[in-house]
């Protein structure tokens, strides 16, 4: 869907659902997922429909993902860091995670 304009930024290695993804410094989690061509970042807790980042400005809450073990984080507001673990959130969140 998206390509990087200038591949200049410093590389940041993150892991998405167990697979390595090459992000860049300055990426938010949501942007890194879009750049990596990942279709959806969660399924809804109501009907299980797939969803992907929609607004990238913090208002829609479609970008909710599990980041470093903590669920329901707004991916479009969180900058990536080396070694970050991102997981697709499936349906309802599990208490304690």
């Amino acid at each position: 869907m998206f390509k990087r304009l200038a591949d200049t930024g410093t590389a940041v290695a993150i892991v998405v659902d167990g697979k390595p993804v090459a992000a860049r410094a300055g990426d938010t989690v949501a942007a890194a997922l879009l750049a990596a061509g990942i279709d959806h970042c969660r399924t809804t807790p109501v009907t299980g429909a797939p969803r992907a980042p929609y607004c990238l400005m913090g208002v829609c809450f479609e970008c909710l993902v599990t980041v470093d073990g903590v669920g329901s984080r707004q991916g479009c507001l969180i900058p990536v860091h080396d070694g970050m673990k991102v997981e697709t959130q499936i349906g309802k969140r599990e208490a304690g995670r």
Binding site: M1, F2, K3, R4, L5, A6, T8, G9, R24, G26, D27, T28, A31, L34, A35, D39, H40, T44, V46, T47, A49, P50, R51, A52, P53, Y54, C55, L56, M57, G58, V59, C60, F61, E62, L64, S72, L77, I78, P79
Partner: protein
Amino acid sequence: MTAASDLAPSYDLVVIGGGPAGLAAASLAARAGVSTVLFDENPGVGGQIYRAITTTPVADRAVLGEDYWAGAELASEAKASGALIVNGATVWSLDPQKIVGVSIAGKARMIEAKHVIIATGSQERPFPIPGWTLPGVMTAGGAQTALKAQGLVPSGRTVMAGTGPLLWLLAAQTLRAGGRIDAILDTTPWRNWLQALVHLPDFALSPYFAKGLALLREVKAKVPVHRIDRVGAVGKEKLSEVVFASGGRERRLPADLLLLHQGVVPNVNLANAAGVEHVWNDRQLCFVPVLDADFGSSVPGIAVTGDGAGIAGGTAAAERGRIAAIAAVRALRPEATLPDTQAIRQKLQREEMGRAFLDWLNRPAESFRQPEGETLACRCEEVTAKQVRDMARIGCEGPNQMKAFLRCGMGPCQGRLCGLTVTELIAAERKMTPAEVGYYRLRPPVKPITLAELASLPISEAERKAVER
């Protein structure tokens, strides 16, 4: 990085939002000697128009245009002003006593303010069409943010749909950056010209006139544009095609990305939760706060400025921020020397001049604001337009009762993506005006915080007694 624990218990002025309005307000106040803190939830300052102004990887200045780069000065002024600027700081509560609840890196604090300037800006108007929740459908503003902040451009088969100046701006920026746009579906109703035309002379004098025309020409030379009156996204797990129609003739375009935009509306959540009175603005089809000439709201000591006060654009937002800041400084530190308000008001007036024309021309058609049938009105709780309409028909005449009945507006976005739709659907079904129907009454936290953060806040003896038995 400022941590929650680094914050003082109180500041004279708390500015919420680091777009042009907030940056201009915070710089002016701090320079006038007022102790000022600015909170913004984004990783960097700039707000929507100047997103990632200090970090953007887009080096070629022509891509984003000079209007974008104008933000660099605002950002550096603010940095030098002495205001404490805290990014990654989400304000989740504000009450009439001007206690600000803020969360930074998972730690919440309550900060006292003598004066508060809300500069939380705007968001894109909900665009509830069939299939708008499919992965592959995004807002045009979202795509623009990805361009500004991360240098991402659409590369697959891309369709843009909607109305308003921002749609054309993004199209131009995308094309300049070498991105791909297969088609633009223009939803602007022809009849809008009837109301817009009388305001054309004013618009012709405003700075937006020449810029706007040039943009249209630039884009139309490269991309096919279709006037349409219906559009939908189709796909199983993600977008596969865009269906659109004009005068009954249906067409389909295979697509990987559909970018939607039909204008921006004030981000009312925080002001609403603080008890600020709002009214319906029929020209801009949204709720706006009731404000005095200095952007002071119905709650003493709380101002709402920038596009949050009603849409007027980024340059106007900065001037509005300055006016709100001058009022704050006058109240907090009367002895301070201040810039000439008259000159600022004149600049603002010039900026706002073309607005009526733009508003009337780009007023989205009813069919794009008042969905039907199975189209989702509320994305979070997956409530359909039909459900909302049915409940309205059996007597539900307001959004707060609707929320209780259907859970629309109860999800994490707190009504940001359904509020206007629900108000308009009820108005349509019950033959009322949106002003009569009203809006959701919002409550803290206006952005989610964790239970542990809430639990960590100060508790008085009386408050504990109200719960423990």
